[in-house]
């Protein structure tokens, strides 16, 4: 058996080989992760740890490996974002309002991973109801970015909302994790933590059993240590689900096999509108490096225009919050959740929701309610939907000419919680990720370099609907060219 820390550095593809070659067992791999649980705890990456479940899953995985019916995910110790309902295991959405809610059902996506033999280490921390870009709105406390430098005045945030997932994967505390992305919640934390995050095409992965934020935008996806891992894990998560009416009936794809396709003569669009005012020089420089990497790999670079880009963020915050205000109405204290009594019904609602929801969630519910109200609907919600159509048209036009688009993932590297105190400034974090969300397109963040402070930066590849294959191919090319092999300071198992 290898030293624990070595096991913790493997990605899925290498661990799969180690298990197949009997270099170690699934139980040994899982035990290595469980032994590093203190390090994960220091990051506050998990809301709920499930060590007993993990060991049982690992033993079942070993039995499968022995029987010869293992899949690529069999024996892989993963974290599930605590937005996926897990049967018999508390699911919080990082909110107080759900109390000790323990679902009597398993979400389709977590169920698929389970059925493929993945090992559940626990439920990863996140922004409350996936609403946030720094994982600071969680009722279970903020998550620390493992890249936080020695002696920093305040810990850096991992981004959000899938901050726990990204931090755990980056720190070696989970081999991979699920995330959900509404406006950038997979890609942005992946970029800020130096890992790969893939938001599939809307409809590629089922939303059934995932606590909803904004139904027309939410999409589950993998957060992994390599592009290959993202392809492997997406293969397990994806597929049509008759229980989700918005789930696509697209034919299954072998995403890992598609990686071999390469990027020779692939046409890569560089949208000029993403060169936002005040874009930090190092982000721009990283983008140029990415363009050179793509060129060197044989791709053709094409200048494209997406004129509606700057309308995307405001329109997104109208559509997403409108849907959220309605989606979160069910948390009323009547049937489940933590109820706060009152003298009458209205007071009970008000007490329950007023104390159960955190400040950011309350803010978003209020904005969402406002934009749907009589007299404001046309000016806000309807207008935003029109903008959304125009954004999709922009992308369609660009994709007539190119296969993928290449942009930065975020406008900056990781920041400390106190650095951004204005909610609107916080929303700006999603400026590069939101347009693809509005159009339902697949997008992936791949770590491509370091900032001046030595913090990871990511590049985003956006693809045509249901063309995750091209996104993965270009991601692989960037990953190969960037040779990003830096590890964060706070690494699980480093002391062992």
């Amino acid at each position: 058996m290898s030293p624990l820390s070595d096991l913790l550095r493997l990605d899925i593809a290498s661990a799969r080989k180690g298990l197949a070659d009997k270099q170690f067992t699934a139980r040994e791999l899982t035990e290595a992760y469980l032994a590093a649980a203190d390090d994960a705890r220091a990051l506050n990456g998990f809301i709920t740890e499930t060590p007993d479940q993990a060991l049982a899953d690992a033993d079942a995985a070993d039995a499968r490996l022995l029987a010869g019916n293992a899949t690529a995910m069999t024996g892989m110790p993963i974290a599930q974002k605590d937005l996926f309902c897990t049967e018999g295991i508390r699911t919080t959405a990082a909110s107080k309002i759900l109390g000790d809610f323990t679902p009597p059902y398993e979400s389709t996506v977590s169920g698929k991973l389970k059925a493929d033999g993945a090992v559940l280490l626990g439920k990863a921390n996140l922004d409350e109801f996936a609403m946030g870009s720094a994982n600071i709105t969680s009722a279970f406390g903020p998550v620390t970015n493992p890249w936080t430098p020695e002696g920093a005045a305040a810990p850096l945030t991992p981004g959000g909302s899938s901050g726990g997932s990204a931090a755990l994967v980056a720190a070696g505390a989970a081999i991979a994790a699920t995330g959900t992305d509404t406006g950038g919640s997979i890609r942005q934390p992946a970029a800020l933590c130096g890992v790969v995050g893939l938001k599939p095409t809307y409809g590629r992965c089922s939303r059934w059993g995932v606590v909803a934020f904004a139904s027309s935008l939410d999409q589950p996806g993998p957060i992994t240590r390599s592009v290959r891992d993202a392809a492997i894990m997406l293969g397990s998560m994806a597929g049509h689900d008759p229980k989700d009416s918005t789930s696509a009936s697209a034919a299954p794809v072998d995403f890992e096999a598609a990686l071999a396709g390469g990027v020779k003569s692939m046409r890569v669009g560089v949208p000029r509108e993403y060169r936002a005012d005040g874009m930090p020089a190092e982000i721009d420089a990283l983008w140029q490096e990415g363009i050179e990497m793509a060129k060197a790999a044989g791709a053709e670079i094409v200048d494209v225009s997406l004129p509606m880009t700057k309308m995307a963020l405001p329109a997104y915050y109208i559509v997403a919050l409108a849907e959220a205000s309605s989606n979160l109405a069910r948390y009323d204290g009547v049937r489940y959740c933590a109820r706060e009594d009152g003298n009458d019904l209205t007071e009970m609602y008000s007490n329950t929701r007023g104390t159960g929801f955190g400040e950011e969630v309350r803010r978003r519910i209020l904005i969402g309610t406002y934009v749907l109200s009589a007299g404001y609907y046309d000016a806000y919600y309807k207008q935003a939907q029109k903008v959304r159509t125009l954004i999709a048209n922009d992308f369609n036009a660009a994709f007539n000419d190119v296969d993928v688009l290449l942009t930065p993932t975020t406008p900056s590297a990781a920041f400390a919680a106190g650095d951004v105190d204005d909610p609107v400034a916080m929303y700006m974090n999603d400026i590069f990720t939101v347009p693809a969300s509005m159009a339902g397109l697949p997008g992936m963040s791949v770590p491509a370099g370091l900032s001046a402070e030595g913090l990871p930066l990511g590049l985003q590849i956006i693809g045509k609907p249901f063309d995750e294959a091209s996104v993965l191919q270009m991601g692989q090319a960037i990953e190969d060219a960037a040779g990003f092999d830096k590890t964060p300071r706070l690494l699980a198992g480093a002391k062992s």
Partner: protein, 483 residues
Amino acid sequence: MSTIEGQDGAWEMVIGLETHAQVASKAKLFSSASAAFGGAPNDHVAFLDAGMPGMLPVINQRCVEAAVLSGFGMNSTINLKSIFDRKNYFYPDLPLGYQISQFSDPIVSGGWLDIELEGGETKRIGVTRLHLEQDAGKSIHDQDPYRTLVDLNRAGVGLMEIVSEPDIGSAEEAAAYVTKLRAILRYLGVCDGNMEEGSLRCDVNLSMRRPGDELGTRCEIKNVNSIRFIREAIEFEARRQVEVLEDGGAIVQETRLFDPDRGETRSMRSKEESHDYRYFPDPDLPPLVLEQSYVDELRAGMPELPDAKKTRFVTELGLTSYDADVLTADRDNALYFEAAADGRDAKTVANWVTGEVFGRLNKNDVSINTAPVPAAELGALVDMIKSGKISGRQAKEAFEAMWAEGKPAQTVVDELGLSQISDDSAIEALVDQVMQANMDKVEEYRGGKPKLIGFFVGQVMKASKGQANPASVNAMLKAKLDG
């Protein structure tokens, strides 16, 4: 448009009805839980119906089919693309915090149905739209002194909301409209029409105006659940509004409740208190898109509807318009009649059904489907009259026994020893016997008192113990007396 008299002149009623018809379906509109009436509280509840996190709606194809069929039944346009919207409001029996309904783009638009008025007149009532929506659960306030209990069995059950144009001008017309609509839905098998169980209920929108004036301010009376209550609610509300208006007051636009015990309507909430429902398209459900071929297929499989059936009964079966109306008002009644009349004289069967059968159904308050005399047995009885085996009077006696005992026609006729003498030689013998015993009367008849034929018929029938065929007796007597 009929009018009602106020203290100083006539007033016209303007009524529009919103009817909620529960789709006859095993499952709910968006979940697989049972949509059956009753059950222990909260027994028919899927995770979606309880508003559990992450649960998603999936449209029940049966409900879509019901909406399309109903649209055809009301001569409407079927919209190949329709949209489900969320109607947002908080209430404990609304677990999601919104009702999934159709607001701007319903599945069915336009249409009409003809109602029959007193005196055989018909009037065409416009239909604005039909859309699909979820029912809410039930809040129970009277089972616990301190708490309200919630039963979610109905939550999410599929309803069709059918909105009429404000073409209805009286309580009678409203009753006729609901009766006709109910009949059409029952013919189509899309709603059981059971108003007591709430499968069909109406919101009544009513305003008053002077003939020729602009529309007045309306009030909406919610959830009236019987045709009698609809009449009573309209009559009360019309008088109330006229009183307010004639006193120089103004009608406040509001939602009212009908109290059947007091026979009055009461204010529930005014427009100012009304909700802002924040309708928007449900992002969990893509637009509902129907293939033209699917819609065509449904149309091709439509059963015959009351109007068409009525016309056919008159033109092909030779029934009176009145009988045809009575027989087609309810699908099951019509099917009973058709089964009994199959291969028989329709008018005779119609008389039996509208007279003997319906009379007893009303008297015993039973439905045609549980009638003790099935259609086939009524037919068998009619056949026995036709063949002369029993007389009409005997048939009524037999029918009485069949209804009481639930036995087949043949059994009852045998048990009662009913049979009619149609054999000419047997009748001739009786006729001869009676003539010989009454030679004096024979002389009188032949001397110019033809009215005595009645006497002879009576005597022969008496001699036959009522079993002789009266027509044969009459003919035989005439031949012998006149010969």
